[in-house]
Symmetry: C2
Subunit: 751 residues, 2 copies
């Protein structure tokens, strides 16, 4: 439901998915033609490569096609999802450009290395005697190789390109017995080669005066960049000494998608899974979902909603009952067609949402107005088999959610509930996750397929300047209850003739694990995750400090016991506290570890603290430190956690507000979007105008993928709180057309 808007059928683009038709393990020259199906350019290039392979007796371990990849992580994902993939290591192919005089043509440096090899550019520049190596821009790649960076591989080197570049080969590849994955000149195609074969391919291009440079990056790094002092006293055990680099490694403001996945992995929230587009929710993220479910369950039960469970399977006949509705979902429905070794008589769908699965039973169960209201909810997972750009929590093929489905006698009751539920969604975001949202109603274009109207809470990611739909609460009206649909009808008790019938008024509403992704994006920083105390599995971590080589066993025990006692005391006050008494890890390592995982508050206890009967409190959200006395510690820490929760929300709210710009002239619209803002505009609310705004605000260079952060702006919602933006003046025109403006609407680029 909260993902529904982007699923609307009428706005779908054709999904073109390249799935390999054959998955041969061994190759003959004659088979290459049938295998290379990517672009005609890369097909010709691959024909040439395969010719070389044949003459060099290179026999790839495997060659597979897969969905397009845009990073090492998605590449790995795609390979792991394919049963034909052998065990492999990724090869990265980087192109650097040295600083040259403006008039001189640059000679690019092509580095072929294991993905995990650290290819320090300054050390490499020093080694090659080249100034200021920088990663080359895409246009240089296009110019030299006619490829984008995601398709680049050692195979891009050929008789034509090799002489124009300096080629550097990671020497650890040459000597390795591993199998390596290289792109077959396309990001959706991968060949698996031995290290020897990669070296053989590259070296067959050598001439007498132009050779491949083999470089041992491990010694290169040491010899050129590491201070001598460190070399003299090598760490015994990196983990123990805290010397391991456990920071996030990618800056939030520089590479947001890379930062996001790194935070999730390093905070132990999630792991990639062998089925593409699916992810493992580890306890650190699942516990947040548990907090949300408990809170939400308690509140909907107060409203008289009951939990239930409907099967995950839906028969084709039932699924396809409501045409508008199914049109929104059908391209991504997963079908079971076989059980054991038997083909099923009819394919059976896995639910993408449960309206059509549930409502035949509503028709059966609701026989009288006395059976109303019927309010059922279920916590389950649904499947929407998206083919592109999976993103943890935001866009996954299976996701966890709740879906509520209610039926009422009157529209008034349905309207009231839509807003009650929406307010619970707002509170989940604002009170639990400290994420500000703007409640409002969706435009006609963006409403739920088959419904009457959709309400939403809209979040915003300031780092990318994009809006994100938080959760949606739909009034379905009588669209599903009407006689030609599910025919959910009762005698109208208010009809004086006693003959009147009423088709019930229905709502549906859903909140998914997307909540967790939004929270991470809003609060996380370059140290990793930052958790709001309300949903943190561990709210307080107690770390013993000041233990040195001279500390006696007894002193150590005293400090450890004090930490343990402190954690116990806090637990008694209802605080989720834990002490970290792990042996063999430095305090520094532990600090990093828990910061990365976003624990809201760290309490340190060392010998001096014990003497003073205090602990040093360090906040994760702003790094502020303060000593707190151990007496009445429970109440003080509780209060501090509340402060953190409130401060996190206030900070996020201020950031959101700073990105909200009231714009009344079209000339200011796109500049504000480009300025990473959302705009509040007087709007006519017509679909035609929304289409036009989207087109006029799109950046020409960005791809128009509905699912990817969209380039054109769309209406995020028409906020309920109109008064906040003043009043639409009489005669005020729409921001984008000649019609009269009706209300202020929130527009923005979005996820």
């Amino acid at each position: 439901m909260n993902l529904a808007a982007r699923l609307l059928g009428r706005r779908r683009r054709l999904l073109t998915v390249l799935l390999s038709q054959s998955r041969p393990k061994h190759f003959s020259e004659s088979r290459w033609a049938s295998i290379n199906q990517a672009t005609s350019l890369s097909r010709n290039a691959m024909d040439s490569v395969s010719g070389s392979f044949a003459s060099l007796s290179i026999n790839p371990v495997a060659h597979i096609n897969h969905p397009e990849t845009s990073s090492p992580a998605t590449w790995r994902d795609a390979l792991d999802a394919n049963a034909s993939s052998p065990n492999y290591q990724l090869i990265k192919t980087l192109v650097f450009k040295p600083k040259t005089a403006k008039s001189a043509a640059p000679v690019p440096v092509v580095v072929i290395a294991r993905d995990e090899t650290e290819t320090n550019s300054s050390a490499l520049g020093k080694h090659l005697n080249l100034k200021e190596l920088r990663l080359a821009a895409e246009d240089l790649l296009a110019e030299f190789f006619h490829l984008d960076k995601n398709s680049l591989s050692p195979l891009a080197l050929n008789q034509s390109t090799f002489p124009k570049v300096i080629t550097v080969l990671d020497s650890s590849i040459v000597s390795s017995s591993s199998v390596f994955a290289v792109h077959a000149l396309s990001s959706n195609s991968t060949i698996f080669l031995s290290g020897k074969d990669i070296a053989a391919y590259v070296k067959h291009l050598e001439s007498d005066d132009h050779k491949v440079q083999e470089v041992d990056f491990s010694t290169l790094a040491t010899s050129s960049t590491v201070p001598t002092a460190t070399k003299q006293a090598p760490k015994e055990d990196a983990k123990i000494e805290g010397a391991v680099q456990i920071a996030i490694g990618v800056k939030k403001e520089v590479d947001f998608p890379g930062w996001y996945t790194n935070v999730l992995i390093k905070a132990d929230m999630l792991d990639y899974y062998s089925v593409s587009g699916c992810y493992i929710l580890k306890p650190w993220s699942y516990s947040i979902w548990e907090e949300i479910t408990q809170w939400f369950n308690a509140h909907i039960k107060e409203l008289g909603v009951q939990n239930s469970y409907f099967p995950m399977f839906v028969s084709q006949k039932v699924l396809e009952r409501e045409k508008d509705h199914i049109e929104g979902f059908s391209p991504e429905v997963a079908w079971v067609t076989r059980a054991g070794s038997s083909d099923l008589e009819e394919p059976i769908a896995i639910r993408p949402t449960s309206e059509t699965a549930m409502y035949p039973y509503y028709a059966k169960w609701i026989k009288s107005h006395r059976d109303l209201p019927l309010k059922l909810n279920q916590w389950n997972s649904v499947v929407r088999w998206e083919f592109k750009n999976p993103q943890p929590f935001l866009r996954t093929r299976e996701f966890l959610w709740q879906e509520g489905h209610t039926a009422f006698l009157t529209k008034t009751e349905a309207d009231t509930e839509v807003r009650q539920i929406l307010d619970l969604y707002r509170r989940v975001y604002e009170e639990l996750l400290a994420v500000p949202v703007i409640p409002g109603v969706k435009s006609e274009k963006e409403k739920f397929a088959g419904g009457l109207y959709t309400t939403t809470v809209e979040g915003f990611i300031p780092t990318t300047g994009r809006g994100i739909q938080g959760a949606t609460s739909h009034c379905l009206g009588q669209n599903f209850s009407r006689p030609e649909m599910f025919n959910i009808v009762v005698e109208d008790p208010n009809d004086p003739t006693g003959q009147g019938k009423t088709y019930v008024w229905q709502n549906s509403w859903g909140l998914s694990t997307r909540t967790i992704g939004v929270m991470v994006m809003i609060h996380g920083d370059n140290q990793g995750l930052v958790l709001p105390p309300r949903v943190a599995n561990i709210q307080v971590i107690v770390v013993p400090c000041g233990i040195t080589a001279r500390t006696t066993d007894e002193q150590r025990a005293t400090i450890n016991n004090a930490c343990e006692d402190l954690a116990k005391t806090l637990k008694k006050s209802g605080i989720r506290a834990q002490s970290d008494l792990r042996e063999g890890y430095t305090p520094g390592y532990k600090f990093n570890d828990w910061e990365q995982k976003g624990v809201p508050l760290r309490l340190e206890i060392g010998p001096n603290d014990l003497t003073k009967q205090q602990t040093l409190a360090v906040r994760r959200d702003n790094g502020a430190k303060q000593p707190i006395g151990l007496s009445d510690i429970g109440a003080n820490v509780s209060a501090l956690l509340d402060t953190i929760q409130n401060d996190m929300f206030t900070r996020a709210k201020n950031n959101y507000d700073a990105c909200l710009k009231v714009v009344t002239r079209w000339e200011d619209f796109v500049p504000q979007l480009d300025n990473k803002c959302a705009v509040v505009v007087p709007w006519c609310e017509t679909e035609e105008c929304e289409d036009a705004i989207k087109e006029r605000s799109a950046k020409a260079s960005e791809p128009q993928d509905e699912r990817a952060p969209s380039a054109g702006a769309k209406s995020l919602c028409i906020p309920f709180d109109q008064a906040r933006w003043g009043q639409i003046a009489s005669g005020q025109r729409c921001i984008a057309c000649e019609r009269d403006a009706r209300r202020f609407a929130l527009f923005g680029r979005s996820y």
Copy 2:
């Protein structure tokens, strides 16, 4: 996991599933031959029927094949699962035998009626002037029609059989415009015919002196069985007056399977679903599952287990990694092969259990003994696409469960946890559900596929004399961690050389919604469900009584308010209480309603109770009534609920104990099974002997379906509490062979 034993691959029989290859909507005579594929007998008979159809111009609406059916409920289930089924009503075909002199040959009465028509046999006998009509035994059906009762239909009447029987046709069929389902002489095949065509078929068999008797059963029932008084004062609204028959209608001790499904439906626990073998868990049953999950979650978290969520999909490669293991599951794995309109490159399985899906990540995450123990649990649903005999809660294609997967450094730790978890399972059954179980270890034959050993809690259904596996906790040993499997290995911190490696010790354990089915079977009675207070969604229902036509509005309000206040008071004491102030329903109707739903305690308040400041308490479990003063009502009701909980357990325990027979001579073994008991026997514990026992104890007449309640006895467990059965004497022989007995084992027929 708790369902695992019956899934063991080596004990599988071949599943023969009749799925129709063609699903024509219209028929020509020439197509009958290809359609009728059941038995050769019914095929010949159907050839003859289709010949008649052709000559009578009867054109069936549809004809489908489906899994075998054994009752109207399973038939309906099978039809609803088939997309080719039109809207239909079931036809029942009953054969009665009148009382005749022993020497006389009986003339059977064949009744063809709508399934819901009440075909009162005494009224019918009176109408036909036949004495004591009784349902005919199976052998009579075989003799006359060569069919069992599940395959019988109007089509069994032909030129040969029609003259030998009296044929009664429900007149409401003849005049109906509905489409009716009739078996095509086989319980796995159904033809849809109009009422007119059914009548035409039957009537074309008529001769001058042998006619079909059309009977209007609705008037027949009224005219012959309903007392005149009732006719004179017809009820206005059956619902309001409480006159509707809402009792279960089938006796537990007579037709246990029919009773079971009736209780579930009428108690509002469950509804059938349009995909066969799947069921809707309505709030009344789902709330029991919520109670179980909350209790179990709290206890496993104390043990350091963390919740997580793994995707429902498993790649084929991963699923098939462990051969013994997958052999147990593969015949019933559901495969997704298509998404939207695209075929997937590789079919993807829906998890039947998650060992092989999770353990590759265990191998990745467990890098050091410091990462141990790893204890994860997930609450999810799994799919096992069984083709036969679905049974709500006990055997369903999708079911809810938890699956715990843990890894330890040592076998000792793993052993300890296996038993800790098993004891939690025992407590779920005994303390929450008031169902006694016997904890023990499974025999080698019955253990989990791929594991080291399996522990279990075994329940018993006295009504049927069959054991039922409650839940299982497995030690997997190092079978999944060894190098050729998932290679989950750490350096052994206890190895003095520092070189030693240890493959981790693993457990897995699961508890499913089967718990709910067992609870219903144990406690339910002929009034319906009986819920133990600990898991009842509503523990106490407060019903206003003594309101008559002469009651003033004010008196009515006083009584209603008192009920409402009482419910509120009880809620404050932590009791799940509710008042039933529904207008227009009599107290009698409400009593029935809540009894059927199994609410543990009813409190009645009438005018006299108010005067005396008391309420009449009526226990659901034993019907006992007692007045309770309204002062200190919370504590008194709490105590009474505890008493009910304890009494229910004690009663069930006594029933179980009474069915446990220690048997030391083979001659007593089968008679005790036939006596609906389980037997405790000295046993040698060899697989060979278990196979022999099974064979020797099977009833020849019962089908040998592993999934159906099995006819041969199997070992249920080797109880941990051996002392309860005395001591195995030195030199004591096995009950069934010449080997020495090792321990007492529990054997029985089982589900």
